[in-house]
Assembly symmetry: C2
Homo-oligomer: 392 residues x 2
């Protein structure tokens, strides 16, 4: 049978990521290519206890259908934490629970984008966002990340000249670069956006994972009506429950809620209730400090090894948090060559080209430091240094 | 701020369903308006035990990221059950796990529909499908349900003349009508579709809930390459976990998998693993027989009351399973009037107009019989009979 698929299916960028991940997981390979938090740091006992209590005390409610917006006590927790940690006033009714923040990418594109509409994002930018947006056939225009965040001149001219429906950015410990916007740049882009008609889509998957524990002010603080702020429990509690959220102004949330209901009625209630129960008793801040501390050690080790044992001409970003950094290759060394030779020598990295929504890249690789212990980081980075040297 | 939403958001049918449900849940109202399974029949002990075991024995794996296609042992269970119950050969790789079968509606529309494409469905048809499809701006063309299934002449001319991308139907205990296709009609529509280029989207949310326990042959048996078959654990285990699946030919599933990954990476793994653990030890067939038996008693009681105490001119469908039936009103009695007067007199029903994707309806109401005990059904139907009589 000949199937007649929609045009949008042909606008998805050819993905070799699946193949990369498959290769990266072959035995004997130390992989910095993935994007997983370290499962050994999950508070399994706390979550198991919460699950037991929910199923014992309110199991039938947790297993029945629920409302599209999400479990109210969980939304109240999120709103209260925003007030306490980030000093922003958020009502629980401005929050919608989703299946991990990836679903925010899909639904935001769905409610805003007609084919051909302009979307702005960072260069390099998050691959999952490029994939989600592409299915809505926009023109993705990028602004380079420079010191302190997106290049303000390029950002201003994009907003002024192309009027994107929204600009998607990750101000805290960006994926893939590990870069964090400066406080000044946050204010600056909020000022540029104010009154422009372009929404800022602020993806804050990593804001809890600053190694110094200090929260950075969200762009939403400077642009409350013009910002959608998404968050996720995947990096700070556990990804397997697929619970994230969007915090958005009421008119946006109303459309988002329609799209969410049509997409899957509601997010799984059992995990929402387990998560809320867990958060009510666990010390999330202490847990997150511990996780961020360990990721920070791994990141510093990786940075030191790059500085110490890699050949000249290699550069890197300096993450203040999160799970990723970027390694810049010497002139003439391509990221696909490093990938291929890396696999042969037992170390996997992610080439940067797929993170360039409008083309380019090819001279950097993304390194994940959250999911390898220090022994693996030492050994893997030694292999990677050999690979780069062999390609010079 | 003025938000610039996508055109598709203005193609969603004006929904008064939320308002109806709100009114239906006011205190003192017996509601037949909803669509919930009876949570008191959920095997809570079995699920709680499964959850405990998963979190004790493989908790860290269950709480980590996973693959887009879904937990392989769960897909193997589904495939094996298809072979055993329905006699169809399905490979686990032809199955993709989703967030309840509502997500199949969204993703199927996403992979097939350009704006303006034709979609076929039953009249009346499932409201959740109308809402999900509408966001992709198709032209929805309907075929009336008559004795035995969709009107074959109207079906054939729709397929021939309009070449819909897919036809969406619920052959087993349809929502809202409660109708079941005859075996002959299943074969007939498969023959009409064969070679036409139109996919049959067979939504089988209720196939386990036949009161007589006899499985009906899926249309997929007669049209394996041309049928997408969706299923759900919501009605047979528990809806709050939001786990359903699609079973589709490989080229369709490949596109579906791309759309699923972009939509939310994967369905929550914890519930997939709890569900699989539960299904490995529970006697699902016996559980489902018990649930279907109880729903059958409630349905028969409702039917008997309609036949016995309602005024002449009232008609009804005769469900063989599922959770819904349709009550046809006497000439001159409108379904919205019955709704409004019903709420005044303490009984809620769902008017049929929203189930008519291309207009029409207005002289029938949907009744849910799964979520009310016999005392409530007696009292509620007496109230409803008074309402109808008062409007004659």
């Amino acid at each position: 049978m000949k199937y007649r698929f929609a045009d949008r299916m042909f606008s998805v960028p050819e993905s070799f990521i699946g193949e990369l991940f498959r290769v990266s997981n072959l035995p004997g390979i130390i992989s910095f290519a993935g994007g997983l938090p370290d499962a050994s740091l999950i508070d399994l006992d706390g979550i198991a206890r919460a699950a037991r209590e929910v199923l014992e005390e309110e199991g039938r409610a947790a297993l029945q259908y629920s409302t599209t917006d999400g479990h109210l006590p969980l939304r109240e927790f999120i709103a209260a934490r925003y007030r306490r940690r980030l000093g922003i006033q958020v009502d629980p009714d401005e929050i919608q629970i989703v299946n991990g923040s990836q679903q925010c990418l899909d639904l935001t594109a769905k409610i805003f984008l007609n084919p051909g509409d302009v979307v702005g994002m960072e260069r390099p930018g998050y691959l999952g966002a490029i994939e989600a947006f592409s299915l809505y056939q926009p023109e993705i225009c990028t602004v380079p990340l420079i010191e302190g965040g997106p290049d303000p001149a390029a950002f201003a001219s994009l907003i002024r000249e192309r009027a994107p429906k929204f600009f998607y950015g990750i101000p805290n410990s960006q994926n893939p670069s590990g870069a964090t916007y400066s406080d000044e740049r946050r204010r600056e882009i909020a000022e540029i956006l104010d009154g422009s008609g372009t929404v800022f889509y602020e993806d804050d998957a990593f804001g809890d994972l600053f190694f110094d524990g200090r929260p950075r002010p969200p762009v939403k603080r400077y642009l409350p009506d013009g910002t959608m702020l998404s968050g996720s429990f995947s990096k700070i509690v556990a990804p397997g429950m697929r619970i994230g959220w969007i915090c958005a102004p009421e008119p946006v949330l109303r459309q988002f809620n329609v799209a969410k209901g049509a997409a899957d009625l509601h997010s799984n209630l059992l995990c929402q209730m387990i998560l809320h129960r867990y958060l009510s008793t666990a010390d999330l801040d202490a847990h997150v400090r511990r996780v961020a501390g360990i990721y920070g050690e791994r990141c510093r080790l990786m940075c030191d090894l790059i500085d110490d044992i890699f050949p000249p001409g290699v550069g890197r970003t300096s993450p203040e948090g999160g799970m990723f950094m970027m390694l810049f290759l010497p002139d003439g060394v391509g990221s696909m060559a490093v990938f291929r030779e890396g696999v042969r020598q037992g170390v996997a990295v992610l080439p940067d080209a797929p993170f360039h929504a409008d083309g380019g890249g090819g001279n950097a690789v993304r390194l994940n430091f959250s999911n390898a212990d220090t022994t693996s980081i030492r050994e893997g980075m030694e292999r990677l240094a050999r690979v780069v040297r062999s390609l010079l």
